[in-house]
Protein backbone atom coordinates (compact mmCIF):
# COMPACT_ATOMS: atom_id res chain seq x y z
CA UNK A 1 0.00 0.00 0.00
CA UNK A 2 1.42 3.34 -0.97
CA UNK A 3 1.98 5.84 1.78
CA UNK A 4 0.36 9.25 1.49
CA UNK A 5 1.80 12.37 3.07
CA UNK A 6 0.01 15.36 4.47
CA UNK A 7 1.74 18.67 5.10
CA UNK A 8 0.16 21.25 7.37
CA UNK A 9 1.51 24.72 8.08
CA UNK A 10 0.66 26.51 11.29
CA UNK A 11 1.23 30.09 12.13
CA UNK A 12 0.78 29.50 15.81
CA UNK A 13 2.44 26.79 17.86
CA UNK A 14 -0.59 26.22 20.11
CA UNK A 15 -2.69 25.44 17.05
CA UNK A 16 -0.15 22.85 15.91
CA UNK A 17 -0.16 21.18 19.34
CA UNK A 18 -4.00 21.15 19.38
CA UNK A 19 -4.05 19.54 15.89
CA UNK A 20 -1.55 16.84 16.98
CA UNK A 21 -3.53 16.12 20.15
CA UNK A 22 -6.71 15.80 18.11
CA UNK A 23 -5.06 13.47 15.59
CA UNK A 24 -3.70 11.33 18.37
CA UNK A 25 -7.10 10.99 19.97
CA UNK A 26 -8.96 10.33 16.71
CA UNK A 27 -7.67 6.74 16.16
CA UNK A 28 -7.63 7.00 12.36
CA UNK A 29 -7.11 3.60 10.73
CA UNK A 30 -3.62 3.18 9.24
CA UNK A 31 -2.30 6.29 10.97
CA UNK A 32 0.58 5.90 13.43
CA UNK A 33 1.48 8.81 15.70
CA UNK A 34 5.19 7.86 15.36
CA UNK A 35 4.98 8.76 11.65
CA UNK A 36 4.14 12.34 12.50
CA UNK A 37 6.95 14.85 12.31
CA UNK A 38 6.74 18.34 13.73
CA UNK A 39 9.27 20.80 12.33
CA UNK A 40 9.92 24.03 14.14
CA UNK A 41 12.61 26.74 14.04
CA UNK A 42 12.75 26.73 17.84
CA UNK A 43 12.56 24.11 20.54
CA UNK A 44 9.14 23.20 22.01
CA UNK A 45 9.72 20.56 24.71
CA UNK A 46 6.00 20.62 25.58
CA UNK A 47 5.18 18.91 22.28
CA UNK A 48 6.79 15.70 23.54
CA UNK A 49 3.89 15.19 25.96
CA UNK A 50 1.50 15.09 23.01
CA UNK A 51 3.70 13.11 20.63
CA UNK A 52 4.81 10.62 23.27
CA UNK A 53 8.16 8.86 23.55
CA UNK A 54 9.87 7.68 20.41
CA UNK A 55 12.64 5.08 20.36
CA UNK A 56 16.12 6.67 20.38
CA UNK A 57 19.33 4.80 19.54
CA UNK A 58 21.84 7.52 20.34
CA UNK A 59 22.82 5.90 23.65
CA UNK A 60 23.95 2.72 21.84
CA UNK A 61 26.19 4.80 19.60
CA UNK A 62 27.68 6.43 22.72
CA UNK A 63 28.18 3.06 24.42
CA UNK A 64 30.01 1.65 21.40
CA UNK A 65 32.20 4.80 21.31
CA UNK A 66 33.05 4.46 25.01
CA UNK A 67 33.90 0.74 24.61
CA UNK A 68 36.11 1.46 21.59
CA UNK A 69 37.90 4.23 23.52
CA UNK A 70 38.46 1.92 26.50
CA UNK A 71 39.80 -0.84 24.26
CA UNK A 72 42.09 1.58 22.43
CA UNK A 73 43.51 2.83 25.74
CA UNK A 74 44.06 -0.75 26.90
CA UNK A 75 45.88 -1.75 23.71
CA UNK A 76 47.96 1.44 23.84
CA UNK A 77 49.17 0.64 27.35
CA UNK A 78 49.54 -3.08 26.64
CA UNK A 79 51.52 -2.56 23.43
CA UNK A 80 53.85 -0.03 25.09
CA UNK A 81 54.76 -2.63 27.70
CA UNK A 82 55.06 -5.58 25.33
Amino acid sequence: MSKRHLLALFNDFDEAVAAIAELRGSNIKGFDIDDMILKSPIEHPEVEEVLGDKPVNVQWFTLVGACMGGLLAFFLVASAQA
Partner: protein
Amino acid sequence: MGKDIREDIAWAQINKDVLKSLESPRRMYWVILFIAIAMIGVAVGSEVYQYQTGMGVSNKNNSHVWGLYIATFIFWIGMSHSGTLLSAILHLMHADWRKPIYRFAEAMTTFSLMTAGLFVLVHLGRLWMVYYVMPYPNERWVWPNFQSPLVWDMFAIATYLSSSVLFLYVGMIPDLAICRDNIHAGWRKKLYTVMSLGWEGTDRQWRNFRITYLTIACFLIPLAVSVHSIVASDFAMSNMPGWHVTSFPPYFVAGALYSGCAAIITLFIILRYVFKFEEYMTLPIMKKLVRLTFAIAMVWTYLNLIEFASVWYGHDQTAKDQLIFKATGPYAPFFWAMIFFGSILPLMLAFKRFQTHLPILFVVSILLNVGMWLERWMIIAPSFAHGHYPWTWDHDQWPSLVQWGIVFGSFGWFTLLFMVFCKVFPSVSMYEVKEMVYHRSLALKHKPAVKGDY
Protein backbone atom coordinates in the same frame (compact mmCIF):
# COMPACT_ATOMS: atom_id res chain seq x y z
CA MET B 1 15.90 48.71 33.56
CA GLY B 2 14.98 48.36 29.86
CA LYS B 3 14.22 45.16 28.03
CA ASP B 4 16.96 42.61 27.36
CA ILE B 5 15.65 42.33 23.83
CA ARG B 6 12.75 43.74 21.83
CA GLU B 7 10.01 41.11 21.62
CA ASP B 8 8.71 42.42 18.29
CA ILE B 9 11.82 41.57 16.24
CA ALA B 10 10.73 39.37 13.32
CA TRP B 11 12.44 35.97 13.13
CA ALA B 12 13.41 36.64 9.52
CA GLN B 13 15.08 39.86 10.69
CA ILE B 14 17.13 37.92 13.25
CA ASN B 15 18.35 35.58 10.49
CA LYS B 16 19.11 38.53 8.23
CA ASP B 17 21.06 40.50 10.84
CA VAL B 18 23.18 37.56 11.97
CA LEU B 19 23.84 36.26 8.45
CA LYS B 20 24.88 39.76 7.44
CA SER B 21 27.58 39.63 10.09
CA LEU B 22 29.16 36.76 8.13
CA GLU B 23 29.48 38.92 5.05
CA SER B 24 29.86 42.61 5.72
CA PRO B 25 31.32 43.69 9.04
CA ARG B 26 32.46 47.27 9.63
CA ARG B 27 35.93 48.24 8.39
CA MET B 28 37.16 48.01 11.97
CA TYR B 29 37.01 44.22 11.60
CA TRP B 30 39.83 44.25 9.06
CA VAL B 31 41.83 46.73 11.16
CA ILE B 32 41.58 44.38 14.17
CA LEU B 33 42.56 41.42 12.00
CA PHE B 34 45.58 43.29 10.64
CA ILE B 35 46.74 44.28 14.13
CA ALA B 36 46.29 40.69 15.32
CA ILE B 37 48.41 39.34 12.45
CA ALA B 38 51.11 41.93 13.16
CA MET B 39 51.14 40.85 16.82
CA ILE B 40 51.47 37.21 15.79
CA GLY B 41 54.41 38.25 13.61
CA VAL B 42 56.18 39.60 16.72
CA ALA B 43 55.56 36.33 18.57
CA VAL B 44 56.69 34.13 15.68
CA GLY B 45 59.88 36.21 15.31
CA SER B 46 60.59 35.92 19.04
CA GLU B 47 59.91 32.19 19.09
CA VAL B 48 62.12 31.52 16.07
CA TYR B 49 64.92 33.52 17.71
CA GLN B 50 64.48 31.63 21.00
CA TYR B 51 64.34 28.28 19.19
CA GLN B 52 67.50 28.94 17.22
CA THR B 53 69.50 30.61 19.99
CA GLY B 54 68.37 28.74 23.11
CA MET B 55 66.23 29.44 26.15
CA GLY B 56 68.85 31.81 27.58
CA VAL B 57 67.54 34.65 25.42
CA SER B 58 64.26 34.57 27.32
CA ASN B 59 66.19 35.60 30.47
CA LYS B 60 64.98 32.56 32.33
CA ASN B 61 67.51 31.07 34.73
CA ASN B 62 67.90 28.34 37.30
CA SER B 63 65.67 30.02 39.80
CA HIS B 64 63.11 31.42 37.34
CA VAL B 65 62.27 28.36 35.32
CA TRP B 66 58.71 29.32 34.33
CA GLY B 67 58.67 33.07 33.79
CA LEU B 68 55.96 34.81 31.84
CA TYR B 69 55.20 31.72 29.80
CA ILE B 70 53.53 29.74 32.55
CA ALA B 71 51.96 32.89 34.08
CA THR B 72 50.35 33.57 30.70
CA PHE B 73 49.45 29.90 30.30
CA ILE B 74 47.42 30.13 33.54
CA PHE B 75 45.92 33.42 32.39
CA TRP B 76 44.60 31.85 29.16
CA ILE B 77 43.34 28.73 30.92
CA GLY B 78 41.49 31.02 33.32
CA MET B 79 40.02 33.08 30.51
CA SER B 80 38.39 29.96 29.15
CA HIS B 81 36.13 29.52 32.17
CA SER B 82 33.71 32.29 31.32
CA GLY B 83 32.32 30.41 28.33
CA THR B 84 31.35 27.56 30.61
CA LEU B 85 29.89 29.99 33.11
CA LEU B 86 27.72 31.73 30.51
CA SER B 87 26.70 28.72 28.48
CA ALA B 88 26.52 25.90 30.97
CA ILE B 89 25.89 27.37 34.44
CA LEU B 90 23.50 30.10 33.32
CA HIS B 91 21.83 27.61 30.96
CA LEU B 92 21.01 25.32 33.86
CA MET B 93 19.78 28.33 35.84
CA HIS B 94 17.46 29.32 32.99
CA ALA B 95 18.95 32.81 32.79
CA ASP B 96 17.76 33.60 29.27
CA TRP B 97 19.63 36.92 29.01
CA ARG B 98 22.72 34.88 28.21
CA LYS B 99 21.25 33.71 24.89
CA PRO B 100 22.48 36.47 22.57
CA ILE B 101 25.99 36.45 24.03
CA TYR B 102 26.86 32.90 25.05
CA ARG B 103 28.02 31.73 21.60
CA PHE B 104 31.02 34.04 21.43
CA ALA B 105 31.80 33.30 25.09
CA GLU B 106 31.95 29.61 24.21
CA ALA B 107 34.18 30.36 21.24
CA MET B 108 36.36 32.35 23.61
CA THR B 109 36.69 29.26 25.83
CA THR B 110 37.91 27.13 22.95
CA PHE B 111 40.38 29.67 21.58
CA SER B 112 41.72 30.57 25.04
CA LEU B 113 42.52 26.90 25.62
CA MET B 114 44.20 26.67 22.22
CA THR B 115 46.28 29.74 23.06
CA ALA B 116 47.16 28.35 26.49
CA GLY B 117 48.34 25.10 24.90
CA LEU B 118 50.90 27.02 22.84
CA PHE B 119 52.70 28.16 25.99
CA VAL B 120 53.40 24.57 26.99
CA LEU B 121 55.30 24.29 23.70
CA VAL B 122 56.92 27.72 23.90
CA HIS B 123 58.45 27.20 27.34
CA LEU B 124 60.13 23.94 26.29
CA GLY B 125 63.81 24.14 25.58
CA ARG B 126 63.81 21.21 23.19
CA LEU B 127 60.67 21.73 21.19
CA TRP B 128 61.26 18.69 19.00
CA MET B 129 60.80 16.49 22.07
CA VAL B 130 57.35 17.87 22.79
CA TYR B 131 55.82 14.39 22.76
CA TYR B 132 57.74 13.66 25.97
CA VAL B 133 55.17 15.76 27.86
CA MET B 134 52.39 13.39 26.84
CA PRO B 135 51.75 11.27 29.92
CA TYR B 136 51.28 7.77 28.62
CA PRO B 137 53.24 4.63 29.41
CA ASN B 138 55.84 4.23 26.71
CA GLU B 139 59.08 2.55 25.74
CA ARG B 140 61.20 5.67 26.43
CA TRP B 141 61.46 4.87 30.16
CA VAL B 142 59.81 8.19 30.92
CA TRP B 143 56.97 6.91 33.04
CA PRO B 144 54.18 9.31 33.90
CA ASN B 145 54.05 10.16 37.56
CA PHE B 146 50.34 9.96 38.31
CA GLN B 147 50.92 11.66 41.66
CA SER B 148 51.98 14.85 39.91
CA PRO B 149 49.41 17.59 39.24
CA LEU B 150 51.27 18.31 35.97
CA VAL B 151 50.07 14.94 34.68
CA TRP B 152 46.52 15.68 35.85
CA ASP B 153 46.86 19.01 34.00
CA MET B 154 47.42 17.24 30.73
CA PHE B 155 44.34 15.05 31.14
CA ALA B 156 42.12 17.82 32.50
CA ILE B 157 43.00 20.41 29.86
CA ALA B 158 42.79 17.94 26.96
CA THR B 159 39.36 16.78 28.19
CA TYR B 160 38.22 20.37 28.70
CA LEU B 161 39.34 21.39 25.22
CA SER B 162 37.64 18.48 23.48
CA SER B 163 34.45 18.92 25.54
CA SER B 164 34.25 22.65 24.91
CA VAL B 165 34.79 22.18 21.17
CA LEU B 166 31.97 19.62 21.22
CA PHE B 167 29.74 21.92 23.28
CA LEU B 168 30.36 24.83 20.93
CA TYR B 169 29.72 22.71 17.86
CA VAL B 170 26.59 20.93 19.14
CA GLY B 171 25.05 24.24 20.21
CA MET B 172 25.66 25.64 16.72
CA ILE B 173 24.00 22.88 14.68
CA PRO B 174 20.53 24.51 14.33
CA ASP B 175 22.20 27.79 13.33
CA LEU B 176 24.46 26.06 10.82
CA ALA B 177 21.31 24.68 9.19
CA ILE B 178 19.94 28.23 8.92
CA CYS B 179 23.21 29.29 7.26
CA ARG B 180 23.01 26.28 4.92
CA ASP B 181 19.45 27.16 3.87
CA ASN B 182 20.15 30.85 3.32
CA ILE B 183 23.49 30.75 1.51
CA HIS B 184 23.17 29.50 -2.04
CA ALA B 185 26.64 28.62 -3.29
CA GLY B 186 30.37 28.57 -2.59
CA TRP B 187 32.57 27.03 0.07
CA ARG B 188 30.35 28.33 2.84
CA LYS B 189 27.38 26.38 1.49
CA LYS B 190 29.47 23.18 1.44
CA LEU B 191 30.86 23.82 4.91
CA TYR B 192 27.46 24.51 6.48
CA THR B 193 25.88 21.54 4.67
CA VAL B 194 28.44 19.14 6.08
CA MET B 195 28.50 20.68 9.55
CA SER B 196 24.73 20.97 10.01
CA LEU B 197 24.48 17.15 9.88
CA GLY B 198 21.16 17.17 8.04
CA TRP B 199 19.37 19.27 10.65
CA GLU B 200 15.73 19.93 9.77
CA GLY B 201 14.33 21.00 13.12
CA THR B 202 12.08 17.97 13.62
CA ASP B 203 10.63 17.25 17.05
CA ARG B 204 12.93 14.24 17.42
CA GLN B 205 16.03 16.25 16.48
CA TRP B 206 15.12 18.96 18.96
CA ARG B 207 14.61 16.35 21.69
CA ASN B 208 17.97 14.69 21.06
CA PHE B 209 19.59 18.09 20.76
CA ARG B 210 18.18 19.24 24.11
CA ILE B 211 19.26 16.10 25.94
CA THR B 212 22.75 16.16 24.39
CA TYR B 213 23.28 19.85 25.11
CA LEU B 214 22.09 19.48 28.70
CA THR B 215 24.29 16.43 29.27
CA ILE B 216 27.41 18.20 27.98
CA ALA B 217 26.53 21.28 30.05
CA CYS B 218 26.24 19.16 33.21
CA PHE B 219 29.54 17.45 32.36
CA LEU B 220 31.35 20.73 31.64
CA ILE B 221 30.64 22.49 34.93
CA PRO B 222 32.53 20.12 37.25
CA LEU B 223 35.15 19.74 34.53
CA ALA B 224 35.77 23.50 34.35
CA VAL B 225 36.02 23.73 38.14
CA SER B 226 38.39 20.75 38.26
CA VAL B 227 40.60 22.11 35.45
CA HIS B 228 41.52 25.27 37.30
CA SER B 229 41.64 23.47 40.65
CA ILE B 230 44.23 21.18 39.10
CA VAL B 231 46.16 24.14 37.67
CA ALA B 232 46.08 25.57 41.23
CA SER B 233 47.37 22.23 42.51
CA ASP B 234 50.47 22.65 40.33
CA PHE B 235 51.36 25.32 42.87
CA ALA B 236 49.50 24.43 46.07
CA MET B 237 50.89 20.89 46.22
CA SER B 238 54.46 22.09 46.20
CA ASN B 239 56.13 23.53 49.29
CA MET B 240 57.32 26.76 47.67
CA PRO B 241 56.69 29.78 49.90
CA GLY B 242 53.62 31.63 48.64
CA TRP B 243 52.19 28.60 46.85
CA HIS B 244 51.42 26.12 49.60
CA VAL B 245 48.00 27.61 50.31
CA THR B 246 44.82 25.60 50.95
CA SER B 247 42.53 28.17 49.36
CA PHE B 248 44.39 28.18 46.04
CA PRO B 249 41.90 26.04 44.04
CA PRO B 250 38.80 28.18 44.76
CA TYR B 251 40.98 31.29 44.43
CA PHE B 252 42.09 30.17 40.97
CA VAL B 253 38.55 29.27 39.90
CA ALA B 254 37.22 32.66 41.06
CA GLY B 255 40.10 34.43 39.28
CA ALA B 256 39.37 32.45 36.13
CA LEU B 257 35.70 33.39 36.12
CA TYR B 258 36.63 36.99 36.88
CA SER B 259 39.09 37.41 34.00
CA GLY B 260 36.72 35.57 31.67
CA CYS B 261 33.79 37.83 32.52
CA ALA B 262 35.96 40.91 32.02
CA ALA B 263 37.02 39.56 28.62
CA ILE B 264 33.38 38.94 27.68
CA ILE B 265 32.65 42.61 28.41
CA THR B 266 35.54 43.65 26.12
CA LEU B 267 34.47 41.33 23.30
CA PHE B 268 30.79 42.21 23.75
CA ILE B 269 31.63 45.86 23.03
CA ILE B 270 33.86 45.00 20.06
CA LEU B 271 31.35 42.61 18.44
CA ARG B 272 28.43 44.92 19.09
CA TYR B 273 30.20 47.63 17.13
CA VAL B 274 31.98 45.60 14.45
CA PHE B 275 29.03 43.40 13.47
CA LYS B 276 26.27 45.96 14.21
CA PHE B 277 24.65 43.79 16.88
CA GLU B 278 23.08 46.67 18.79
CA GLU B 279 19.64 44.97 18.72
CA TYR B 280 20.95 41.78 20.33
CA MET B 281 23.85 42.78 22.55
CA THR B 282 21.79 45.32 24.42
CA LEU B 283 22.64 47.59 27.31
CA PRO B 284 20.37 45.78 29.81
CA ILE B 285 22.25 42.55 29.03
CA MET B 286 25.52 44.40 29.52
CA LYS B 287 24.24 45.65 32.85
CA LYS B 288 23.58 42.08 34.04
CA LEU B 289 27.00 41.00 32.80
CA VAL B 290 28.69 43.87 34.61
CA ARG B 291 26.86 43.05 37.85
CA LEU B 292 27.93 39.41 37.53
CA THR B 293 31.53 40.54 36.99
CA PHE B 294 31.32 42.80 40.03
CA ALA B 295 30.03 39.94 42.20
CA ILE B 296 32.83 37.63 41.03
CA ALA B 297 35.40 40.42 41.58
CA MET B 298 34.28 40.68 45.19
CA VAL B 299 34.54 36.89 45.66
CA TRP B 300 38.08 37.04 44.24
CA THR B 301 38.93 39.94 46.58
CA TYR B 302 37.57 38.02 49.54
CA LEU B 303 39.63 34.93 48.67
CA ASN B 304 42.70 37.13 48.25
CA LEU B 305 42.19 38.61 51.71
CA ILE B 306 41.64 35.13 53.16
CA GLU B 307 44.95 34.04 51.66
CA PHE B 308 46.81 37.05 53.05
CA ALA B 309 45.20 36.63 56.50
CA SER B 310 45.93 32.92 56.74
CA VAL B 311 49.57 33.52 55.78
CA TRP B 312 49.93 36.53 58.10
CA TYR B 313 48.41 34.84 61.14
CA GLY B 314 49.84 31.39 60.35
CA HIS B 315 53.06 29.93 61.67
CA ASP B 316 54.91 29.51 58.37
CA GLN B 317 57.59 32.19 58.58
CA THR B 318 58.86 31.70 55.01
CA ALA B 319 55.34 32.14 53.62
CA LYS B 320 54.98 35.34 55.67
CA ASP B 321 58.36 36.57 54.42
CA GLN B 322 57.20 35.85 50.89
CA LEU B 323 54.06 37.97 51.40
CA ILE B 324 56.15 40.85 52.77
CA PHE B 325 58.56 40.42 49.84
CA LYS B 326 55.69 40.71 47.37
CA ALA B 327 54.36 43.87 49.00
CA THR B 328 57.70 45.63 49.57
CA GLY B 329 60.29 43.98 47.31
CA PRO B 330 61.20 44.63 43.67
CA TYR B 331 57.85 43.25 42.48
CA ALA B 332 55.86 45.57 44.80
CA PRO B 333 54.62 47.94 42.01
CA PHE B 334 53.13 44.96 40.15
CA PHE B 335 51.67 43.49 43.33
CA TRP B 336 49.93 46.74 44.23
CA ALA B 337 48.82 47.24 40.63
CA MET B 338 47.21 43.78 40.86
CA ILE B 339 45.38 44.82 44.04
CA PHE B 340 44.29 48.10 42.45
CA PHE B 341 43.10 46.65 39.13
CA GLY B 342 41.65 43.48 40.65
CA SER B 343 39.95 44.77 43.80
CA ILE B 344 39.66 48.58 43.80
CA LEU B 345 38.86 49.33 40.15
CA PRO B 346 35.87 46.91 39.95
CA LEU B 347 34.16 48.93 42.70
CA MET B 348 33.29 51.31 39.84
CA LEU B 349 31.08 48.60 38.43
CA ALA B 350 28.76 48.93 41.41
CA PHE B 351 27.64 52.36 40.21
CA LYS B 352 24.70 52.37 37.80
CA ARG B 353 26.10 55.19 35.69
CA PHE B 354 29.11 53.08 34.70
CA GLN B 355 27.20 49.82 34.13
CA THR B 356 26.11 50.79 30.65
CA HIS B 357 28.79 53.34 29.71
CA LEU B 358 30.47 51.38 26.93
CA PRO B 359 33.70 53.42 26.43
CA ILE B 360 34.43 53.33 30.18
CA LEU B 361 33.51 49.64 30.41
CA PHE B 362 35.81 48.87 27.49
CA VAL B 363 38.80 50.45 29.22
CA VAL B 364 37.90 49.08 32.67
CA SER B 365 37.40 45.52 31.36
CA ILE B 366 40.85 45.57 29.76
CA LEU B 367 42.40 46.94 32.97
CA LEU B 368 40.66 44.23 35.02
CA ASN B 369 42.34 41.66 32.80
CA VAL B 370 45.67 43.45 33.19
CA GLY B 371 45.13 42.98 36.93
CA MET B 372 44.30 39.32 36.48
CA TRP B 373 47.35 38.77 34.31
CA LEU B 374 49.49 40.48 36.97
CA GLU B 375 47.93 38.17 39.56
CA ARG B 376 49.28 35.14 37.69
CA TRP B 377 52.69 36.71 37.27
CA MET B 378 52.75 37.69 40.97
CA ILE B 379 52.06 34.08 41.91
CA ILE B 380 55.03 32.84 39.91
CA ALA B 381 57.86 35.40 39.87
CA PRO B 382 58.14 36.41 43.58
CA SER B 383 58.14 32.78 44.76
CA PHE B 384 61.01 31.97 42.40
CA ALA B 385 62.86 35.11 43.51
CA HIS B 386 62.48 34.43 47.23
CA GLY B 387 62.35 30.67 47.74
CA HIS B 388 63.59 28.51 50.59
CA TYR B 389 67.18 28.63 49.31
CA PRO B 390 69.12 31.84 49.97
CA TRP B 391 70.89 31.53 46.59
CA THR B 392 67.57 32.40 44.92
CA TRP B 393 67.24 35.66 46.81
CA ASP B 394 69.41 37.73 44.50
CA HIS B 395 67.67 36.36 41.44
CA ASP B 396 65.06 39.03 40.77
CA GLN B 397 64.14 38.44 37.22
CA TRP B 398 62.93 40.78 34.55
CA PRO B 399 61.72 38.90 31.46
CA SER B 400 63.52 39.64 28.21
CA LEU B 401 61.91 41.17 25.14
CA VAL B 402 61.67 37.66 23.71
CA GLN B 403 59.31 36.63 26.52
CA TRP B 404 57.30 39.84 26.27
CA GLY B 405 57.10 39.44 22.49
CA ILE B 406 55.65 35.94 22.73
CA VAL B 407 53.16 36.95 25.43
CA PHE B 408 52.15 40.00 23.36
CA GLY B 409 51.72 37.86 20.26
CA SER B 410 49.50 35.36 22.09
CA PHE B 411 46.85 38.07 22.34
CA GLY B 412 47.10 38.52 18.57
CA TRP B 413 46.77 34.75 18.04
CA PHE B 414 43.65 34.62 20.22
CA THR B 415 42.17 37.67 18.49
CA LEU B 416 42.85 36.23 15.04
CA LEU B 417 41.18 32.89 15.86
CA PHE B 418 38.26 34.62 17.50
CA MET B 419 37.62 37.17 14.76
CA VAL B 420 37.91 34.56 11.98
CA PHE B 421 35.42 32.38 13.88
CA CYS B 422 32.96 35.27 14.16
CA LYS B 423 33.20 35.88 10.40
CA VAL B 424 32.70 32.22 9.45
CA PHE B 425 30.16 31.12 12.07
CA PRO B 426 27.20 32.97 13.58
CA SER B 427 28.45 34.63 16.76
CA VAL B 428 24.89 35.25 17.97
CA SER B 429 22.73 32.17 18.47
CA MET B 430 19.82 32.77 16.08
CA TYR B 431 17.52 30.01 17.31
CA GLU B 432 17.99 30.93 20.96
CA VAL B 433 17.35 34.61 20.30
CA LYS B 434 14.15 33.53 18.52
CA GLU B 435 13.19 31.47 21.56
CA MET B 436 13.87 34.45 23.77
CA VAL B 437 11.75 36.72 21.59
CA TYR B 438 8.98 34.08 21.37
CA HIS B 439 8.74 33.50 25.12
CA ARG B 440 8.86 37.19 25.89
CA SER B 441 6.14 38.01 23.39
CA LEU B 442 4.01 35.19 24.88
CA ALA B 443 4.57 36.57 28.37
CA LEU B 444 3.58 40.02 27.11
CA LYS B 445 0.40 38.61 25.52
CA HIS B 446 -0.65 36.97 28.76
CA LYS B 447 0.30 39.90 30.93
CA PRO B 448 -2.73 41.61 32.51
CA ALA B 449 -3.43 45.03 30.98
CA VAL B 450 -3.95 46.67 34.37
CA LYS B 451 -2.10 45.84 37.55
CA GLY B 452 -4.26 43.72 39.83
CA ASP B 453 -6.23 41.93 37.09
CA TYR B 454 -5.40 38.51 38.53
